[in-house]
Amino acid sequence: MSAVLKAEGLGVHTGDLALVQDVTLTVGRGERVGLIGESGSGKSLTALALMGLLPEGLHATGSVRLDGSPADLVGADEDELAPLRGKRMSMVFQEPMTALNPTMRIGDQVAEGMLLHRAHRRRAAARSAAVELLDDVGLPSPAEAARAYPHQLSGGQRQRVVAAIALANDPDLLICDEPTTALDVTVQALVLDLITRGVAARDAALLFITHDLGVVATVCDRVLVMYGGRIVEAGEVAQVFTRPRHRYTSGLLAASDLARTDDGRLLTIPGSVPQAGAFPAGCVFRNRCAAATSACETLPSWVGPDPEHGHACVHPVEVPA
């Protein structure tokens, strides 16, 4: 399996402050990889860094390579990045209510990417391709939707439009940043289904960011657990979710298990995610970890066969034999 996306030692910094550090991940063709963690753990920044769309004042370090493009995307200029975005790699954002231009018709917003990357040279052809795509993502009466403005659609419908825009040029890599978080539970499953179908139909690589472990379990093959701007554990979904090694992962799993309670109260991870830059030195999780010892004050090294499988914990959870 060839890697479509390969990030090595990816970091995001603002001034001297490191917000994301040493993220190494690969996503192969047809592979679906989840990136999970609490809010503030650096998932979205990682996604934006991969796309080269970090907001002003933030910069990326390390290396990001897209299969078939010789250049390292970190530090690449617009001339190199713009032709890749929306064509080879594209993104679905968290907030469907604001991700679309309120003053432009849906059809034009979908057609724009195809015209830009020359999938269609004529406006009329791009428009009808846009209607087809809207039909593909399951919008009822797509021709009508193409003429509508975003405010005339519901949140779930808008997210379908955002997905249609992202899939318009059959990208090799689709990055989804919490695409269903803002949606009603009933709509979530539909949008997830359309994303997985869209990716499968194009044999594309999927990097799926979420804090919802249930979603990862249904969508992804592999998962990376992120905390404090670092990858703390990685592996096959079945492996990580049933036999977590890192203390943070096990805490996260315990907290999402509604059946497990402590005297009738749901389990939580004690404390809260620190402010950016206020994470402890050494193991980023040690100030919230019950198992932490002085050994955790130095950065734990990665234990595992490769960056895609393993954990970074000095006192890993024992695996029952």
Binding site: A82, A99, P102
Partner: protein
């Protein structure tokens, strides 16, 4: 959409109707009869009575009001109490002068403000953007009349390129008209443009942080193109609001520039009418200005509907 339009139109007509009452009412509550005001304190009762009779000022106020409004609808603004000349033609001339001044300086302001404001926003973290921003701040601080005086000192007195003042109607001598128009339009337009550029800058800065700009970038649009295609129309909404306010202010506010450049505009006309205690002329000019402001607001409302589809749907 049609419903929205009609309702805005109804609001315009209603506002105009109320304005006539307010403007007329103000003249009524002023102490003393308009004839007495026009003739002065030393005039004899007989001459006051004669003037009142001549202009129908002895009739009941209601009749006078209806007479005045009826005249307005036929563009008959009555005759001056002082010169006894027809008012409509005088005002029409002055209105034309003011419109030339206001419209050309607003166009100039837009031509300056839009590119400058976008540039200031795009480069707001760079030295060039900060420098432009500081310069525009200076422009905001300079009053138009000072700009006018400085421009005259430079271009008329020192360089002798352009006339220092005066007004020639375009039909009489187009070349002279243009020469005389340049300096007053520059003084109004530069200052107005500096103010407007600040608003364009902040509107564009706001829009640049919007999610849909990021979506556009993720499609593969370069930053400037994403801003132009997806940002400017959204940024136009607050800018149009300010532009409308500026236009309304300029209609009267141009009076200072009219004085500096000796231009017979509407604002000067109003001041002259007040100085001559010609109350009917004051009343007509005020009504005209109110009408102009209401129409500007109406057009701004229509522009909102054109720019933002969200406002078109009736809820």
């Amino acid at each position: 959409m049609i419903l929205r339009l009609l309702s805005r139109l109804a609001v315009l007509v209603a506002s105009l109707a109320v304005s006539t009452m307010v403007v007329f009412g103000f003249m009524v509550v002023l102490p003393g009869s308009p004839a007495r005001v026009a003739l002065g304190v030393n005039a004899s009762d007989a001459s006051v009575a004669q003037l009142e009779q001549e202009f129908g000022l002895d009739r009941p106020k209601g009749v006078q009001y209806l007479d005045w409004v009826g005249g307005l609808l036929r563009f008959d603004l009555g005759r001056s109490y002082v010169s006894r000349a027809e008012i409509a033609p005088q005002i029409a001339d002055r209105l034309q002068v003011t419109l030339w001044l206001v419209v050309t300086s607003t166009v100039l302001a837009l031509v300056i403000a839009v590119p400058l404001g976008v540039l200031m926003a795009v480069r707001h973290r760079r030295a060039s953007g900060v420098l432009l921003s500081a310069l525009s701040q200076v422009g905001v601080a300079v009053p138009a009349f000072l700009a006018g005086v400085l421009l005259v000192a430079l271009f008329s007195v020192r360089l002798g390129w352009l006339p220092a003042n005066g007004w020639t109607p375009p039909v009489e001598d187009p070349a002279m008209f243009l020469e005389q128009l340049v300096l007053p339009v520059l003084s109004l337009g530069l200052v107005q443009g500096a103010v407007l550029a600040r608003y364009v800058r902040s509107a564009v800065l706001d829009v640049m942080r919007e999610d849909y700009i990021r979506t556009a970038r993720a499609k593969g649009l370069r930053p400037m193109r994403a801003l132009v295609r997806h940002g400017l129309r959204n940024a136009a909404i607050p800018v149009v609001t300010v532009l409308g306010l500026q236009l309304a202010t300029l209609l009267v506010g141009a009076v200072v520039i009219e004085r500096v450049f000796v231009i017979p505009g509407l604002g000067s006309g109003l001041l002259d009418a007040v100085a001559n205690r010609d109350l009917i002329l004051v009343q007509d000019i005020v009504m005209l200005l109110v009408t102009a402001v209401l129409i500007v607001n109406f057009v701004v409302d229509l522009l909102y509907l054109v720019i933002d589809p969200r406002l078109r749907s009736v809820r």
